[in-house]
C-alpha cells in the first residue's frame, strides 16, 4: 500500500507562546518546534501498516524551512520519502487553503491511503483532513484509534463519546484522520536519523502547485487565555461542608 501522511510542525508542548505585535499570530522567533501530536500517531499507524503489509510511506508537510526538522524526524522513524511544500504564509491560510496545498501535492502520487492527525495542536480547526478528503474526492473516516488492512480494504476503529467505539469497513483509497493515543509511538533512533539523510525530500512551492494564498476564514485576533481563580471555602462542620459540596457539584458544576 502506498500511504501518504500529512504532518504539521507546531510549537513544542513546553514552548512559551507569546502573541506577535500584530496580534494576529504568535511570535515565532526563539520557539522550539515539534511534530503535531496526532500527526505523530498517524505516522505510527502508517508505519505499522507498512510493517505488516509492505508498501511505501510518504510524508507531506507544508511550512517554511524549519519544517525540515520535523520531516527528518518522520523519515528517521521510518517514512521512505517526503514532500516539503515550501511556504512562509501558513498562518495566513485557512484550513481550506492548506488542504488545497496538500491535495495538489498528493494527487500525482495517487496513494492507496492518506492519513493525518485529527487536528493541529496550535490552531485546532480539526478540518484540514476532512476537507482534504473532499478535495481528493475520497471516502473518509475521522477520530480513528486504529487502522487495519483487510482483503477488501480497511477495517477502522473510531472513538465515540462515553467510551463507545465504532468499527467500520472502508474501501481504499481513503482519507483517515487519526486520534492521539491509539498506539504506542516509537522513539527516534540514531540509526534512523543517519539513514534519513539519504532519503529523498522533494520541495514544491504553492505556485508550482497552483494554489494562491487565499483564505475564506480570516483570523481576526488571537489572545492569551484569561486565568481565573475562584476558590470557595465551604464553611461548617465536615458533614455540612460535604453536603454543600455535593449540592454545588450537582447543580453548579453539574458533574454529578
Amino acid at each position: 500500500m502506498k500511504i501518504i501522511v500529512a504532518i504539521k510542525q507546531v510549537p513544542e508542548r513546553d514552548a512559551q507562546v507569546r502573541i506577535n505585535a500584530a496580534g494576529k499570530w504568535i511570535e515565532e522567533t526563539d520557539l522550539q518546534w515539534a511534530m503535531n501530536e496526532s500527526d505523530a500517531y498517524a505516522l505510527e499507524e502508517a508505519l505499522q501498516l507498512k510493517e505488516k503489509g509492505g508498501g511505501e510511506v510518504v510524508v507531506v508537510s507544508a511550512g517554511p524551512e524549519r519544517v525540515g526538522s520535523t520531516i527528518r524526524e518522520a523519515l528517521a522513524k521510518g517514512a521512505d520519502r517526503a514532500i516539503h511544500i515550501d511556504c512562509d504564509d501558513l498562518a495566513q491560510r485557512d484550513a481550506l487553503s492548506v488542504a488545497r496545498l496538500l491535495a495538489e501535492a498528493i494527487k500525482p502520487e495517487s496513494p492507496d491511503l492518506v492519513l493525518t492527525g485529527l487536528q493541529s495542536d496550535d490552531l485546532g480547526y480539526g478540518q484540514t483532513g476532512v476537507i482534504l478528503a473532499a478535495l481528493l474526492e475520497l471516502p473518509h473516516a475521522s477520530l480513528l484509534l486504529h487502522v487495519e488492512q483487510t482483503s477488501t480494504g480497511l477495517h477502522v476503529k473510531r472513538e465515540l463519546e462515553e467510551g463507545w467505539f465504532q468499527n467500520i469497513e472502508l474501501p481504499t483509497p481513503a482519507v483517515l484522520t487519526i486520534q492521539s493515543g491509539g498506539s504506542k509511538l516509537r522513539y527516534a533512533t540514531l540509526m534512523g536519523i543517519k539513514r534519513a539523510k539519504t532519503k529523498e525530500v522533494r520541495r514544491v512551492t504553492p505556485a508550482e502547485l497552483g494554489v494562491p494564498p487565499s483564505a475564506v476564514v480570516v483570523l481576526d485576533r488571537i489572545a492569551q487565555p484569561q486565568k481565573q481563580k475562584s476558590t470557595q471555602i465551604l464553611p461548617g462542620s465536615p458533614k455540612e461542608a460535604a453536603a454543600a459540596l455535593v449540592e454545588k457539584l450537582k447543580f453548579e458544576v453539574r458533574v454529578l
Partner: protein, 631 residues
C-alpha cells in the same frame, strides 16, 4: 651457618637423549600454548581499533600497572585474605621468572645462575622464600575454592583450577625439595624432571583456561580506558554501539579474554543480588563465548545466544563491578555499549523506556512534566535567575525542578547559600542533562540534550555550576565533553564541606547513617565531604557496605524510569540495610537515592528512619529565612 651450606641441587649432567627429549617437550608445550594463544591474540587484534585510544596520560597507566598489578593492591584491599594468597602466588611467579629460565638453561648445559656462587645463592634463597609463600598461598586458594566455596566462584566446581593449583604446588615443592638433596643424586634428577614436566604441562593450559589472565591482565590493566565508567564516543556514521561482532573493539575483546571468573563483580552487583537475570561476569563471559564461536568479524547480533537483552537493561550502572574488577575490565562501558546497540537501532522495545525517550525528545525533563511547573517552583521559591553576575549557576536537574522532595532539597540548599551570602542563580530554561538516556544508550536524545544545555550555559556565560544531583554533575562534567566544553561543576556536598566552618555549630547526638550514592562515591571519588556535613549535624554511623563498596539504591542507569523490577527491589534491600544500623536518620546526597528510599520506607510506616539530604541536615540548624533574601 648450617642453613647457608644448603644449596640448590642441580643435575650436573644430561645425556644427549635427555637434551633431545627436553627440546622436543619444550617445542611441543610451546606450540600447544601458541596454537590457542595465537588464536586468542588474533581475535583481539582483528577486532575494531578503539578510535579514542591514546597512550597518554602514560603516568596514570604506569601507576595503575604498578599499584594494581605489581603491588596487587586492589586484589588485597577488596578481599584481604584471598587477595594476599593471590599476591603470594603472583609474587612467587615473578621471582620464578629467573629461576625458570635458569632451570631450562641448565637442562641444555648453559645455566647462568651458579647455586654455589654468591649471587646465585642469594637469589635462590630469595626465590625459596617466595616459593614457600606461593605454596602456602596456592594451598589457601585451593581450600577456599574446594572447601569454603564462596558462591561467587559459581555453582560448578572448577577441576581445572584444582589441577592448576596442584601443578603450582608441585612446582614450589620440587623447587624447595631441591635444597635438601645432593647435586649428583638420582633424587636431584627426578626433582628436576618433575619440575620441568609440571612447567611444560602448565604452559599450554594457560591459554585454554581462565589462567589466560596471567598473560593478558597486566596488559588489560595497563591499556584500560581509565576514567571510571567512561563511555567512548561513537566512531563515524556506521557506529551505533555494540550491535554485532564487528563493533567489538580491541579493548573490549582483550577485556573479554582477560576475565579470571573470580566473581567480584557478581558479588557486588545490585541486580545479581536481588534475583535479576543480570550477572556482570556472565556478560563478559558471554562476549568471550561469542568471540570463540563467531569471532570479531561476525554479523551475528551480540544480544541473543550468549547475552540476554533483558539482563543488559537491568544494570543500574552503579559501577560496583568495574570498581572491583582486579583485571581491568570496564563493565559499564560494555553494558552501555550493548544498550546503545539495541537502542540506537530501535531493537529495544520497552513501554517505560519508550515513554522516557519520547518525553525527552519532545519535552525538557525525564519526569515528563510541563516546563511551566519548573517556572512555578522558581517563582514560588523566589530563586534568583542567573544573569551572569552571580558566582554560581544552581543547576536544578529534573529531580530538583520537578520532584516534590527534590524541590525541598533545592530550597534548603538555597537557604544555606543565602545564609553564607553566596551569589547564585538558576537558568530560565534547563533541560535534563541526559543522564538516563546516556546510560540507556540513546545517543540521539543525549546529543540533543547535551548540545541544547551547553548552548544555554554558554549564552548565559555560566562559569561555575553547583548541583544537588550527582547524576547531573557526572553527566555535565564527563559525558558532555563529547559535544563541547562544559563549565566547572561541583556537587553540593563539596560546596557544603568547604563552608561548614562558617555555619553555626550544632550539638546533637542524633545517629545519622550516610548512604554513599554511586555517582558521588565510585564515580567522583567524593566520600569524605558529605560525611563532614553529616558529622556536623549529628553522629555519623556507617552502613555495613559503605564508601567504594556502597550498595546501589536501584535508580541509576535510567532504571528509575523503567517501572517494576523482577525479583526483590534493590531500593528495599538497601533501605533495610540502612534502617538496620539503628540510626534515627538516613542521610542522602542524591535526590534519586532519596526518592528510592522514600518509596521503600513508606511501606515500613512509622518504624522507618527519617530521610534527609545533606542540604536539609545542614539547613535545619539555620535561623528561619527572611523572605526574599535570594542570591
Amino acid at each position: 651457618m648450617i642453613l647457608l651450606s644448603v644449596t640448590l641441587a642441580e643435575p650436573q649432567h644430561f645425556s644427549l637423549w635427555e637434551k633431545l627429549l627436553l627440546a622436543a617437550l619444550v617445542i611441543a608445550s610451546a606450540s600447544l600454548f601458541w596454537r590457542r594463544f595465537g588464536t586468542v591474540l588474533d581475535k583481539i587484534l582483528q577486532s575494531k581499533k578503539d578510535a579514542d585510544f591514546s597512550l597518554s596520560p602514560l603516568g596514570r597507566r604506569v601507576w595503575d600497572f604498578v599499584w594494581e598489578v605489581i603491588c596487587q593492591a586492589k586484589v588485597i584491599r577488596q578481599r584481604p585474605l584471598p587477595g594476599l594468597a593471590h599476591a603470594f602466588v603472583f609474587w612467587g611467579f615473578c621471582a620464578f621468572v629467573l629461576v625458570t629460565l635458569n632451570h631450562f638453561a641448565t637442562g641444555f648445559g648453559i645455566g647462568f645462575l651458579n647455586p654455589g656462587g654468591a649471587i646465585g645463592r642469594c637469589y635462590f634463597y630469595l626465590a625459596a622464600a617466595f616459593a614457600l609463600a606461593c605454596a602456602v598461598g596456592i594451598l589457601g586458594l585451593f581450600v577456599r575454592r574446594f572447601f569454603v566455596r564462596p558462591r561467587w566462584l559459581g555453582q560448578k566446581l572448577s577441576y581445572e583450577s584444582g589441577f592448576i593449583a596442584l601443578l603450582i604446588f608441585v612446582l614450589m615443592v620440587t623447587y624447595l625439595a631441591s635444597f635438601s638433596v645432593a647435586d649428583k643424586s638420582p633424587a636431584a634428577g627426578a626433582l628436576w624432571w618433575i619440575h620441568t614436566l609440571a612447567l611444560l604441562i602448565f604452559l599450554p593450559i594457560i591459554p585454554h583456561t581462565k589462567h589466560l589472565h596471567l598473560v593478558l591482565s597486566p596488559a588489560t590493566v595497563f591499556l584500560s580506558r581509565g576514567g571510571f565508567s567512561r563511555i567512548p564516543p561513537l566512531a563515524g556514521d556506521e557506529d551505533f554501539g555494540l550491535v554485532t561482532g564487528k563493533d567489538l573493539t580491541r579493548l573490549v575483546s582483550l577485556q573479554a579474554y582477560s576475565c579470571v571468573e573470580c566473581g567480584r563483580c557478581t558479588e557486588h552487583c545490585p541486580a545479581a543480588n536481588t534475583g535479576k537475570l543480570l550477572n556482570p561476569k556472565e556478560i563478559i563471559l558471554g562476549l568471550r563465548n561469542y568471540l570463540n564461536e563467531y569471532g570479531p568479524a561476525s554479523d551475528q547480533p551480540l544480544l541473543g545466544k550468549y547475552i540476554a537483552q533483558e539482563a543488559v537493561f537491568q544494570c543500574t550502572s552503579c559501577g560496583a563491578c568495574e570498581f572491583q574488577c582486579p583485571v581491568g575490565i570496564e563493565h559499564v562501558p560494555i553494558i552501555v555499549g550493548l544498550r546503545r546497540g539495541a537502542v540506537n537501532t530501535g531493537a529495544w522495545e520497552d513501554d517505560h523506556g519508550g515513554k522516557l525517550f519520547l518525553a525527552l525528545e519532545r519535552g525538557s525533563n525525564a519526569l515528563g512534566m510541563s516546563a511551566a511547573e519548573r517556572d512555578k517552583f522558581i517563582q514560588k521559591q523566589e530563586l534568583p535567575i542567573f544573569d551572569g553576575t552571580q558566582e554560581y549557576c544552581l543547576w536544578l536537574g529534573c529531580m530538583g525542578g520537578y520532584d516534590p522532595k527534590g524541590r525541598e532539597i533545592v530550597a534548603d540548599f538555597a537557604r544555606v547559600m543565602n545564609y553564607l551570602g553566596t551569589t547564585y542563580g538558576v537558568l530560565r530554561k534547563e533541560k535534563c542533562t541526559g543522564d538516563p538516556v546516556r546510560r540507556l544508550g540513546n545517543d540521539l536524545v543525549f546529543q540533543q540534550l547535551a548540545e541544547a544545555n551547553l548552548e544555554a550555559l554558554a549564552q548565559n556565560k555560566v562559569k561555575k555550576i553547583v548541583s544537588i544531583c550527582p547524576h547531573c554533575v557526572r553527566t555535565i562534567q564527563e559525558d558532555w565533553k563529547e559535544y563541547g566544553t562544559p563549565p566547572e561543576v561541583e556537587h553540593h556536598s563539596e560546596f557544603l564541606a568547604r563552608h561548614l566552618s562558617q555555619l553555626p555549630p550544632v550539638q546533637s547526638e542524633e545517629k545519622i547513617v550516610y548512604h554513599d550514592p554511586c555517582y558521588l562515591g565510585r564515580y567522583r571519588n567524593v566520600y569524605e565531604e558529605p560525611r563532614k556535613t553529616v558529622e556536623r549535624a549529628g553522629e555519623l554511623v556507617e552502613a555495613p557496605r559503605s564508601h567504594e563498596r556502597s550498595f546501589c539504591c536501584g535508580a541509576g542507569g535510567g532504571l528509575a524510569f523503567l517501572g517494576e523490577e523482577t525479583g526483590e527491589r534493590v531500593s528495599h534491600v538497601r533501605a533495610e540495610e540502612l534502617a538496620g544500623t539503628g540510626a534515627a536518620t538516613v542521610g542522602t546526597a542524591c535526590p534519586f537515592c532519596n526518592s528510592m528510599f522514600r518509596d521503600a520506607f513508606s511501606e515500613k510506616g512509622d518504624g522507618a528512619p527519617q530521610l534527609l539530604d545533606i542540604a536539609q541536615l545542614t539547613a535545619r540548624s539555620l535561623p528561619p529565612a527572611e523572605s526574599g533574601s535570594g542570591g
